[in-house]
Symmetry: D2
């Protein structure tokens, strides 16, 4: 019996972002399929299970999507099939998928024909009351082709047959609760909107040629030569058409952007809500060094997610930074492994210790611990390579609660910190000492007016699903 490892399996012990979105509107015809491809490629880290885009020239409306990486889904033939000479609007999506047999049909963007013409929509995040709204609409005779939240939003929009697309979208935003960032297009408009708390990110950029761009992270703007203009504000709906960029504040609450964007998800070349990710990670490391100092010989990051915090820890502590774990750059490829060896191989094929750790007291810095299984293996690797002490430092607080706003943190019972004390976790992973940054320390390191830290505290700013629906969400295929 063999198993296959894929990209996402290698990060199986990390929280998983469920999506990245991208949109572009160009008054002058442009090769938007190509620009969307570049943008999605830059957002690939936000979702590796599926990719898709739709493109319109004001008349035709093409869509392609499938399971796989952006570069796998869009081979030359398929990219050509969505390339429209006079393209004016396009959106795209990358996705971390949930399980189930109907994966392909849940890929985004979702496209549908409505009384407002053909629409395409892609979202990042979750509507916590989607199932309630869905049940209600089913009773009224609606069809649902997918189990995708976007379809609930699109049904709400279509139902308002007397409103125009912008009004109907604003109405739908008011009906749905949760943490989300969405892009939506018709043949002639590009819309983007963010939940009232701004849990999920969405930024606005512009190219020299005037084209407007929306994306989950600024790196996707840079990838196509656009400048970062600003973030979409929490609760804001923006739309772009022939006349330019318009804005409507639908409903703003206390901003609580997701702290994990800075801890782990966002690329180190991104800035979100005015805060630079690389710099914030260095500050987390510095804060961690102040809060949880230790006497040691070198500071070693778990590559690549722990690099920023490790640099910060080294700077603050004065302990030298070193590269004690080699990361195999081919580790993301589909890999075959005998079932009985699969678990351990996932780590061994990805990481191996360098000589830097031999005979050293090591401060090992990672961004988070979810299940703890990977952490234990990394500690073992270091000890086998001759590390005399391993002091594990984590640049996020213990994760004790599930996320309902679009991040797959694993079921609650699998979260090691929800059932074990820090000392118990230390014993489980076999470190000499283990310490997490404090929630206050994290807030200080990131900065900004507010943060969603529901997964550390259970305090959900945008509410939770009905208890019954939590189970259904788990069951739904």
């Amino acid at each position: 019996m063999s198993e296959h490892f894929h990209e996402h399996d290698l990060n199986f012990d990390k929280p998983r972002e469920e999506c990245g979105v991208f949109g572009i509107y160009s008054a002058q015809p442009n090769d938007l399929a190509w620009l969307t491809y570049l943008g999605l490629f830059a957002l690939q880290h936000r979702g590796q299970e599926a990719a898709g885009m739709c493109v319109s020239d004001g008349d035709r409306f093409h869509v392609e999507k499938d399971l796989g990486l952006v570069t796998q889904v869009f081979d030359e033939r398929r990219l050509d099939s969505v390339r429209l000479a006079g393209a004016q609007v396009s959106i795209g999506h990358v996705r971390y998928s949930t399980t189930g047999s109907n994966l392909r049909f849940n890929a985004q963007p979702l496209t549908t024909r409505t009384n407002k013409g053909i629409l395409g929509m892609a979202h990042n995040g979750n509507f916590v009351n989607a199932l309630e709204v869905r049940r209600e609409m089913l009773e009224e005779g609606a069809l649902f082709a997918t189990t995708n939240d976007s379809e609930v939003m699109l049904n709400l929009i279509a139902r308002e047959s007397r409103m125009d697309l912008v009004e109907a979208t604003a109405a739908a935003m008011q009906r749905l609760r949760g943490g989300y960032a969405c892009v939506l297009m018709s043949r002639s408009q590009l819309l983007g909107f963010r939940d009232p708390h701004g849990v999920r990110p969405l930024v606005i950029g512009q190219r020299e040629d005037g084209a407007w761009v929306l994306a989950s992270e600024p790196c996707a703007l840079y990838a196509i030569g656009a400048r970062l203009i600003r973030d979409v504000a929490p609760g804001e709906l923006v739309w772009i058409d022939r006349e330019g960029l318009h804005s409507l504040m639908v409903e703003a609450r206390q901003p609580t952007p997701c702290s994990f964007e800075w801890i782990y998800f966002a690329r180190s070349d991104s800035q979100l809500d005015g805060i630079d990710t690389h710099e914030s990670r260095i500050r987390m490391g510095q804060q961690l060094a102040r809060e949880k100092p230790v006497e040691a010989d070198i500071v070693v990051p778990v590559p690549d997610s722990g690099i920023g915090a490790a640099i910060g820890y080294a700077r603050e502590s004065g302990i030298p930074f070193d590269y004690g774990l080699y990361k195999n750059p081919y580790a993301g490829r589909t890999f075959i492994a005998p079932t009985q060896e699969a678990r351990e191989l996932k780590v061994k094929m990805k990481l191996s210790p360098t000589s830097a750790v031999r005979g050293k007291r090591v401060v090992l810095v990672d961004d988070s611990i979810v299940r703890g299984t990977t952490s234990r293996q990394i500690v073992n690797l270091l000890r086998d390579a001759g590390a005399t002490e391993v002091h594990f430092r984590v640049s996020s607080p213990p994760i004790t609660h599930p996320c309902f706003y679009g991040i797959d943190t694993a079921a609650r019972k699998e979260l090691v910190a929800s059932t074990h004390s820090v000392d118990e976790i230390r014993d489980l992973i076999g470190a000499d000492t283990l310490a997490f940054i404090s929630e206050q320390g994290l807030r200080k390191a990131i900065g900004g007016p507010g943060l969603c830290s529901a997964c550390f505290t259970g305090d959900y700013p945008a509410g939770t699903p009905l208890l019954n629906d939590v189970d259904k969400l788990a069951l739904e295929v």
Copy 2:
């Protein structure tokens, strides 16, 4: 520049059936995915562009579909992914697809979640008033994920939220007009229905183990060891559940089954509405020999579609049957050809003359002439091989009108018989003589109480789309 030929290109000068449907209900759990695969394989000649199936065990509901032949879409991995241990109901579909970029999304079965639970539907044929109904429902706030007629039907069914599935389906049948045969499944029921004129075929079979089967042709029943019980009657709705087979006559009119099923589409081992296809083709050949005799040395079929009529013509005329055209069995594979040579190669790579025609006066028998381009090349092949005379005999009348009931006969202006006399066509294709069977002769050869011969006469028993919609149908992608 190169072109690729595919399966369907090699029959590009034939009318194209748009679909084949299959459904099975088994009170005892059975490997329905495998049986549906076998059934679809037997119906492959009815559609080569896409294939799909959905399967339920009463709880789970899996669907897989894609572009390609049945054996291409369902490799082992994919067939396994719809295989449910306790499967009780399954439907499947093969399709000749229309053009456009959204082909994949129009593949069937169409599945959707409704107030009657999750439903899967597959159809053969067309609803002529689908666009009217669609417009009306869009206004009311409905979404349409596809341009597929099945989705209109499903919306009609979902809208009747107080009716059960059977009642709602019957209501929907009364709202839609056209020529169609459909299968529809929920987690616990299999439904099948046929338009009031019975334009498109649908048969009922049963296996020894009690499982009920619905299919476009009996060959799909035989393929899974089922007996033919009877045809679904025109205007009849049948449904199968734990209790057995139920029937409701929704609305019956004068039966006018499509004559092309016997002329060309149906396999020669099928019987439809009590009439055997192979036998009817022999009778067409005999009738043609009586109506349009000629002095000649051998009767040669265009393989494989002209074989039955050629045998009939030879028997009636006493002229020896011979195998004058070799058909390359590999001709259906994807083939690369330089653009400038592509047209002629389509015929040359498929057919080549044997020595049988050398020095002979040949009666060449084919089932139909659509554009005439292929016919001309076949006549040329025979002359190059030494045939002294070529007398072309066609076992269908001239096709002068488009079909609105699910057959792609090419646009009217491309139908050579709509703009040319028989003598002009004879000159175009270069035959010494050319003759078609008469419409009366065809009716006599097929037999039965009625026939749709709209494509020969313009007399459409189930009506036509609104004039505007005819254009839209052509434009829709």
Copy 3:
């Protein structure tokens, strides 16, 4: 557990030709890769396991080959990769492969660098003393990259370092015994040669543009617009260069071309050694009707291999020909089947009875019986469909001996006729009567000066391998 059926599995109960060869030389630069592709496509029936070609423009020398059908191996990218603008010489090959893990490396053409420059070679047939010669050369320090007979020939050619390519090839022909037809190319010459008995076929053609063509069958000439000039004579070596076509009679013996080329292998539009295949098959059927008459209602061929003989049988006997078995044109595709049902499905998915046999006494005509398993199932199909009697007529004598000249007739113990009498076979397959054509009758029906009928008589005109080597041949992977 599942099995996959492929193309060749569906003919598993037929003798298997091991190869088809093709070569072309054009003094003017031409698109020879494309012409070779067309030629190989026409020879596809001679081998479905692997395909390959090499092409030279006098300077570069490109080769591509792989497992699969011609159209699978040569997708657009791969065909382009062997397309040389100024190509002057090319050879190609299709192959029925033997088993073993190193299949890919045995695909042809075989290319090698020698003191005569780079050479490419492809063969049909076998050298019966190849293993002896090989052992001898290994002792002398030769390397063998493959287990392919062509490599033995190439080593013999290379060893004659003082001779030119033509002389060395003639010398090698004298050293090797067996039944074979080969094409061989250098950067500037095309050679073709046939064993002294002419067991395997090879024909010469020419295009209007002067290009010379060699091929296993004339159908490959016609496919590229070439005329049949003549057959290569038994024992003749021909070569083509800038000056034209040259010939050398190396060693001619009593011609004994393989009778199975006319019985089954060659396409019905081919002529070999002056004898037309389709006509000879009709004569076989007529002879069979004279030798083994029976009272019956219809004559039914096993499609497609029995068609010619069935027409002949019908003509001679006056019993009507009919199309009693439908052959599914998609049956050659890779197909998945549960292991326990696989055997029976191989026939059922390919053939199904039409109504023509119902209530009839059927003469069933096929070209050969190897193992008999398929024959039994076909007889069963006809009885299940209502045939009242089944009279099996075979247009070849019983196969009792293995072929050592390139045809895989199955191991001797699997040949039903080597261990069973005709009456016993009749009982095994369940026919009412069974009769084979006589060897004399076959010779008369085919005509010509001589025939290899070793598989019917055990009389091997070109000798057999050493007894030890027969076993080694079986073991070799």
Copy 4:
């Protein structure tokens, strides 16, 4: 027009290692195909164009190889096809391929049948007199199936028909000159050998279960749970059979291992000839800081190749290390790009600056400069991101000469340092200052008794090919 980027294109401005080799011998039957797969996966960085392995159980001898990454070539089906239950010996290979149409046929291991039985061989490096020896053997009647150096070695071995495999291999080593490390297997023996100067690396390891392993780098030992025993000595031939590990010193010269193994090729968790790569890279950075100091704010590595030297530079200089360039982990995937944008995208899609460089004087550390095109783009990226000064530091001396021992450094005229002074290169790449480590400094940083630095000095320890053959090597396809 579009181009496709592949793995290797993204390192197109780096020297390219041509191969990695692996071999394993296990007296007890073991799953050697799986262990070889793991070993090759760990060596993937040494060659991304092709991968292959052969496996024997003492009787059967299976081989699989193809173009692609290890994980692409060996999908489950293919890995299974070389899995022999009682496997005792296996070798494997990964390769950076040269251009030409016959790539597939040059993939390794090369297998051949000889008077010493079937042999498989894989090599890293080059024999500089291979063409001379090849010419000589062609004259004697030898065939060459490939243009692969291994085949020359195998012909030499086969020619010694009176010697056993070990003796014949030792004789062949004496006949061939160059820089190489090879593994060779028969059905019952595993051999490994390294050129007399030890230019290319080869190490010996052993697993707990007693199996002996040979590999280009220790990381492949660790990957399968083996310990590093020692390096194969320059000029040593080792062989392993049922009795254990044997050694023969064939011909030892002054050791001059390739300096680029430590500069760039070897993984940072490898030790070669007793010298740790990660530590040596830190020493290179420290040396560089001493030799070429500069006043600046941060030290930034070009990831991942410059990390070690950057850490060293930072430590020695006291300037803070920071992560100023983000490397997209998906950049190695096949990527489509419009031709006109392709060149610049190769860098942009792989690297993007973080905020760390904004307003900073940056020391940018890389391991080497080949053409300089990539370096210029990286300098531009940093300036665009706000770096006020860019001081480029290179941990290898200027590359002025081609390598004839297995590394593709680009043609001499493309080597920017062979035609430009350091100041000119600085201007070309747009850096404020540019400095390379000195050759003496490099020797000191690496340590050890000797080093091949031919590419910096033109002093070739193992000789060069004949002048004529240098051209032929370039032309050979």
